[in-house]
Symmetry: C2
Subunit: 321 residues, 2 copies
């Protein structure tokens, strides 16, 4: 069986706060049409793809924020995506804010099979930002207020994707900077990582020290290293452009297991990029340099799971021996 | 107190099998003289800096290989390095093959303070290659034969380096491809990683699938990601050029905590590169995106220490729900 997959990353331009889901969903359906015409078998949409990136707005009482969350999938608003998937025989990855029946809130992603069934769901583990209003910040980043830490771990499943099967996993936005998250997927033989993000061009927490021009570099560096070190493909897909006055940097990419960028979005709007992925390429790293069974040394990694924060090292002084 | 450090990476050209330690040590002393003239306060030499990369040669009985190993540091052969360090007030990092009094063999690195004292020692954990003669390979890579897995963990110490103090740690060659190794140092607040390597331009294990032109990219990608994700500097220093007929790719680099390359060797011979490192730059990442205490989630990282090799994921099929 061929292990070739034609993969599309569907970057979204900005979604303004005043726009309803039907605007975003309409644009996404058009991207799925384009993907179908170009022969794509799976389409990856970004994080929180249905609305503006609302965690930049403070809300005292989360009960007033329910309109940002999905309580069912599909819903009347998202049904056209499921219909398009069936019509075109295309699976899709969607990031969205999830509110569960028992009132819990997560930053979630799902991979929807063309049948309309959810084959895999992930809830973001590495929530950036803060939980209370921060008067020091010009722009808030309240993910820790709007969402709980994901409770599903880093799941991987082997699922039909296009005409083949693939081991798929997901990361969301800030997760991509954490090598632990990539490794958790690599330890489950992930072949394709679907990864959506909403990343501002300016780091509002940096207070003047981080060079803004390095922001895209850091994103790509993290994704390329993650793919290389875990011998997998990734579609890292942005919401881009100026959303409610705040610029998101775009630059969505598809990366192969050698860490090479196969395709890159260069606009700040809705844009489809495509790559033919030979999933057999994941084998090389796994049999050689990154043959975990031969080379990993978990007995030397104790601090990674044994402590959360860093600890100061001991001091050495001359004469101490 | 200023936290500026003038750091030198001293790439070495090839050392042929027939050459004695005095040849390498003479070249290293000259590099230390150059480093001193240029104002460097610390010099980082590569892995196994005193000899050819001998693990490419098979030896049935390791007792016949003792001449590749150091049993004391300094020895008469290495004493000129210690003398130069004292003379110039420069600390240095040296990679060497170590044989302990009880007969154990390690691929080791040491940071020697200008006083001649060893402030930090590390023994390579991620030994690549294999332990028995492999008739499939045109070139052997017998590190797993010549060395035991390092037994010192990934130590970090706060030590005087130049006119300041720095949290220093070490990786050796293949360690740099493993994000676990970087994270172990990051969890001890490492500020400067000293890292030597001997990496061939051709991967003799790849059997034709890995593009040779990506070898340097993979090395740099791993070092740049390690520095960015752990907010530290690194000097990644090669043995370069054609050694006993086998090409090593060089391209030594000094990298800052933003993952930027500050200096790069472009020859395949002895070459000194220099960078002014403001260790205060390590603070930015640690207070913001990579504030481990706020953002790491060790409870979700269980597989990293809980399993060595990867495990196949469960299968999902349509209709399964």
């Amino acid at each position: 069986m061929s292990r070739r997959l034609t993969l599309a990353a569907a970057q979204l331009g900005p979604i303004q706060k005043a726009e309803g889901r039907e605007v975003a969903v309409g644009r996404m359906v058009r991207l799925m049409e384009t993907a179908h015409r170009r022969g794509a078998e799976v389409v990856v949409f970004p994080e929180l793809a249905l609305t503006t990136f609302f965690p930049r707005w403070y809300e005292e009482d989360l009960a007033n924020a329910d309109h940002w969350y999905e309580t069912t999938l599909p819903s009347p608003a998202t049904a056209p995506l499921f219909a398009a998937a069936r019509r075109y025989g295309i699976g899709f990855h969607l990031g969205y804010a999830e509110k569960t029946p028992d009132g819990r809130r997560f930053n979630t992603a799902a991979y929807v099979h063309p049948s309309g069934e959810v084959a895999l769901k992930y809830r973001k583990v590495h929530l950036p930002g803060h939980s209370e209003f921060d008067p020091q910040r010009r722009v808030q980043h309240l993910e820790k207020r709007y969402f709980e830490v994901g409770d599903l771990g880093f799941p991987v499943v082997r699922a039909p994707v296009g005409g083949t099967e693939a081991n798929i996993g997901m990361l969301i936005c800030n997760d991509r900077r954490w090598p632990e998250a990539w490794r958790m997927l690599g330890l489950q033989q992930v072949e394709l990582v679907m990864l959506g993000y909403n990343t501002p061009s300016l780091n509002m927490e940096n207070r003047g020290f981080e060079a803004h021009h390095l922001r895209v570099f850091h994103s790509h560096l993290s994704v390329q290293a993650g793919c290389y070190q875990n011998a997998c493909f990734a579609a890292a897909v942005a919401k881009a452009g100026t959303e409610d006055g705040h610029e998101l940097f775009g630059h969505s990419i598809i990366v192969n297991p050698q860490g090479e960028i196969m395709a890159q979005a260069t606009s700040w709007g809705d844009e489809l990029i495509l790559a033919d992925c030979d999933l057999g390429m994941c084998e090389l790293g796994r049999r050689t340099i990154f043959d975990f069974a031969r080379h990993r040394r978990p007995e030397a990694y104790g601090r990674i799971t044994g402590q959360t924060s860093s600890a100061a090292p001991p001091r050495w002084t001359p004469g101490q021996g």
